[in-house]
Structures are given as structure tokens and as C-alpha cells.
Amino acid sequence: MDTATPAVTVALHDGESVVAESTQVDARRHGELLLPAVDRVLKEAGLKLDAVTGIVVGVGPGPYTGLRVGLVTAATFASAVGVPVHGLCTLDGLAYASGIEEPFVVATDARRKEVYWARYENRRTRVTDAAVDRPAEIAEQVAGLPVVGAGARLYPEFFPDARDPEHQSAGALAALAAERLAAGADFLDPLPMYLRRPDAQVPKNYKVVTPK
């Protein structure tokens, strides 16, 4: 599952192929959409959660609030069912899904006129750490490269060669994870990749709950 981008995406993978997948794009309702999507995917496969042998979660980078929905859900499932949870960089899922086998870039929307991005040698090989920057600041570094993800669509003046997919797919993320599991490769800890420090401001009346 991955909730680090506007896509709320869940898939079930049996080690060889995607058995079922649900992907909904709605930046405002990650919390409401995720569990019903898990339920739909499992029902489609005729399985219950305890049939799952591992959970893969996109750790971002992504805007905080939505990102946490997937991570806390994955961690809680893992604790309840007693299976491991594996973290993958969200950008790696998009890269894998692109199928591109030459150098390219993945860029997603980081809001505040910035993108989360990384460079790839090919669909399986990331060559830079994920970062958050303004498109203008990285335009020179990525010049001439195809760009996968929603970031390319948002800033066509800096990323003219936009490629699919635009949105994250848990099916692709799970397929990548299945390959890595079979190869005995490492995973990230299932911890959020925020890339930004919290806005440390105490809002006025931070918890006004006056019933009226």
C-alpha cells in the first residue's frame, strides 16, 4: 500500500503477479479510503488479511498527513497479524512502473511549488537520494531526461519530456518488492521519509472544540 501521493493505492501480490489492486486518486480522503480499499482487494481475492505473509508500504517522500495513514496502517496490520512490514521509497514504485531502461527522473508533487524527486539509471536502480526542491533549482541537473510522475505534468516548462505513469500503483510497488524479496535484497525501515522539518508554530486556539 502507498498513501504518500494523492493516490490511495492497495494491491495484493502472490509472488508472481498482482492478484487484485485498487487505486483511487483523491488527495483529501486518504484516511477514509484506505481501509475500504484493503477490504475490496482482499475480497476480490477471496482472502482475509491473515493470509498475507508480508506487508509492503511506500515510505514517501510525501506530504505528511496522508503519508502517515499508510505507514500506521501497515505497522498496525503487521503487529496484529504477526508478519513483517517492508518499506520502499515511493519514487521507486513509480520508477519500476515506468518500464524505462535508460536514465530518467521521477518527480512527484511536494506542494509549496516544490517536487520530491530522484534520478534513476533504469527502472530498478535509483542513483540519488530522494530530495525536495524547486523545479527551477534542478532543471539543469535533469535536462534532457524523461520525467515520470505528477511533478512532470505540474511543471512542463522545466520537465518537457513527461512520461507515464502519473500516479503511484501499489501493484507496481508490490511487484518490485516481490522481486527484491526473491533476490534477498534489503528494504527500508517502514518509517516516514518527510524530507522537511515540521512547521514549529503553535497555532492560536489549537484545540478549540467549543460546542455551540
Binding site: 496502517t73 496490520f77 496484529a80
Partner: protein, 371 residues
């Protein structure tokens, strides 16, 4: 404790405490809390994003600790309860997501419940079943309300509330003016014990005969105290911190207890429950006791650890929902930062509770989760 009483796990993440409690009926089995208050201290208040990040880190370890403390297996639970609101949107969402995942993974019913109703219901763990109706005074950093609850699972009526600052906020702000750090409640309580509560006559907000009988206002008091301190400092005089703390605290608890006792008399209720973080204040407890005794009202205040935000209070209300066959929430349950106190729980869309009328139009706040 009867073995057939509902066994419920409750999750609370509405502010800066990650709380997981487990109760059987009205018996407390576990109360695990992880707090991020120290991280917020240097900002002088709760920073929402810092609280949300801390909830994510603490969530699963706190659930596992509560289960271990209670000595039960998650399989034996009869339900999972969670604070659905009100509170900080991003913080609530961590708990709601965890509760939904836990309930789904275990195949247990989910109960999204109201934070304020939970603050009242927690007293069942200390003093047994709540009398019906219960009069409750809830005072904390986020709320100051007088509530009448004929049925804590279905019927909670607001009689009055603060029109500006919450009582706890006033403590925090005065502590800041006096350079006493955050949170302000415990340190002011401690210093006030050595001060004279009658040293300075600070104003009692909304206490006139024409003022709303059950509403509170602490903003004018806060300004009056700050002005008094600043005048002393401007004159080069030393500020008598203990007397200021005692006199300020007296002004707050005088109004709170006076209005609560009056509400009991007006409504013919012979019990008063006081909850929320400020209910840990020793002078509030003492003055409430004194005035309730004089008025023939029985006072119920949970021990301080149950007054501050915790998971046990959520579990207590969840257990009552199970015991009274209230409909469960569904998997679409969302965090609602402004959940009205008149909604003690959030039943699923397929169930409608016709026991009471909803006299408000309630829009779930659709805050942008992608920010």
C-alpha cells in the same frame, strides 16, 4: 469484574498524548501513555505536526505495551474504540487509522467515539457506573464546558462553554508571563500552595447577573493578570509569583466551581463529575469538594492520571457502547477535528440511531490530508 463484561481497547491521539487503554466493563486493565509534551515545551504549546509525528512513532509500541500490561490477548477483545474527534486533525488521523487497521485485522467492531464524552465516561473506572443524568465540568487546555449527560452513549447536552480561552490555556499563558515554562498547570498549582489566594482581587469573568449562567471567559482574567505583573515590573518591584499564582488560580476555580454547582442545582442533579487535565489541579478539587458538600452534591473526580488525555477513557466509553448495543462505526470512519459534543459516537452510515434528534447540521470537515 464479570467475565461477560465487554473487553475493549481504546486509542486516543487527539492532542499530544498517544494513549492506549484496555478495560473490561468498568474495570481498568491497562493505561499506556506516550507523551510528546517535552518536545512541545520549547515552543510554549502543542505543535500539531510534531504531535502527529510522535503519534506515528509511538502508536504500535503503545498498543503492544497496553496488551502486555493487561495480560490479555488481542483475540479476546470485544471491540476497538478510538477518539474520532474533536482534536487536532492530523493527530486524530493517526489514531483513527491505527484503530481501523487493528479492528479490521482482528475482525472486531470499531467504535469512533467523542473525546469529551470519553473524559466523562472515564470516571466509571474510578467510581463505578455514572449516575443518569450526569452533570460534568470538563476543563483542560482545549476545553472548558458544562455538559449534562442523560446517557453518555447517546445523549450529551452542552449547557455552557468558554467563549474565549480554555481554562488550561489561561494557566499556560500566565505561566509564560511568569517565565514558568510549559505546561503551566502543574507549576502554578505547586506555587499557589505557598501563596495567598486573596492577595490580589483578579476579575471573575461572566459572573454578572446578566451574564450567561453557564458560559466561561478567561481572556479578560488573563489580560488583567498580565497587566498587573507588567505594572509591577515597570515600577521596578519584585513580582510576588506565589501570590499571583494563587490569586489567578483562585479566580479560575472560583468561577468554574460556582457555575458547575449552580448548574447542578438548576437542573436538579445531585452528582457533579469533573474531568479534563485541569481537574488534576489541587485547588479546583478542594474548592469543588467544599462547595458540593455545602450544596448536598456528590462530587466525582477521577484520579489525576485519568483526568489528562489517555486511552483508558476511550476504552471506557467504547465498553459502554458495546454494553448498550450501540451501532459500530464503519471502515470509512474519518477523523473529525470539530466533532460536536452532541455526538458521543460516530455510527456507520448504514445504521441510524433514532434514540435522539440531531439538532445540528453536521458537516465533516474535509481538511486536506495531502498537506
Amino acid at each position: 469484574m464479570a467475565a461477560d463484561e465487554p473487553l475493549v481497547l481504546g486509542i486516543e491521539t487527539s492532542c499530544d498524548e498517544t494513549g492506549v487503554g484496555i478495560v473490561r466493563g468498568t474495570t481498568l486493565l491497562a493505561d499506556a501513555v506516550a507523551s510528546s509534551v517535552d518536545t512541545h515545551a520549547r515552543f510554549g504549546g502543542v505543535v500539531p505536526e510534531i504531535a502527529s509525528r510522535a503519534h506515528l512513532e509511538a502508536m504500535v509500541p503503545t498498543i503492544e505495551r497496553a496488551l502486555k500490561d493487561a495480560g490479555i490477548s488481542a483475540r479476546d477483545l470485544d471491540g476497538i474504540a478510538v477518539t474520532a474527534g474533536p482534536g487536532l486533525a492530523g493527530a486524530l488521523l493517526v489514531g483513527v487509522s491505527a484503530a481501523k487497521a487493528y479492528a479490521y485485522a482482528l475482525g472486531k467492531p470499531l467504535y469512533g467515539v467523542n473525546h469529551l464524552a470519553s473524559h466523562i465516561c472515564v470516571d466509571q473506572l474510578e467510581h463505578g457506573p455514572l449516575p443518569e443524568p450526569t452533570m460534568a465540568l470538563l476543563v483542560s487546555g482545549g476545553h472548558s464546558s458544562l455538559l449534562l449527560a442523560p446517557d453518555i452513549t447517546a445523549d450529551v447536552r452542552p449547557l455552557g462553554a468558554t467563549i474565549d480561552d480554555a481554562a488550561g490555556e489561561a494557566f499556560d499563558k500566565i505561566a509564560r508571563v511568569l517565565d514558568l515554562g510549559f505546561p503551566g498547570g502543574p507549576v502554578i498549582d505547586r506555587l499557589a500552595r505557598e501563596g495567598d489566594p486573596n492577595a490580589i482581587a483578579f476579575p471573575r469573568g461572566l459572573s454578572g447577573s446578566k451574564d450567561p449562567a453557564y458560559d466561561f471567559s478567561f481572556s479578560g482574567l488573563k489580560t488583567a493578570v498580565a497587566r498587573w505583573i507588567e505594572a509591577r515590573r515597570a515600577a521596578g518591584e519584585e513580582v510576588p509569583v506565589r501570590d499571583v499564582a494563587a490569586s489567578f488560580q483562585e479566580a479560575v476555580v472560583d468561577v468554574l466551581t460556582r457555575k458547575a454547582v449552580r448548574a447542578c442545582k438548576d437542573e436538579g442533579v445531585d452528582h457533579l463529575m469533573i474531568g479534563g487535565g485541569v481537574a488534576a489541579n489541587s485547588r479546583l478539587r478542594a474548592l469543588a469538594q467544599e462547595r458540593c458538600e455545602r450544596a448536598g452534591i456528590r462530587l466525582r473526580v477521577p484520579r489525576p492520571g485519568l483526568c489528562t488525555d489517555n486511552g483508558a477513557m476511550v476504552a471506557a466509553l467504547g465498553a459502554e457502547m458495546v454494553a448498550r448495543n450501540r451501532p459500530a462505526s464503519d471502515l470509512e470512519l474519518s477523523a473529525d477535528s470539530s466533532l460536536p459534543v452532541t455526538d458521543p459516537h460516530v455510527p456507520g452510515a448504514h445504521h441510524h440511531d433514532h434514540d435522539h434528534d440531531h439538532d445540528h447540521v453536521h458537516e465533516i470537515s474535509k481538511e486536506n490530508l495531502y498537506s
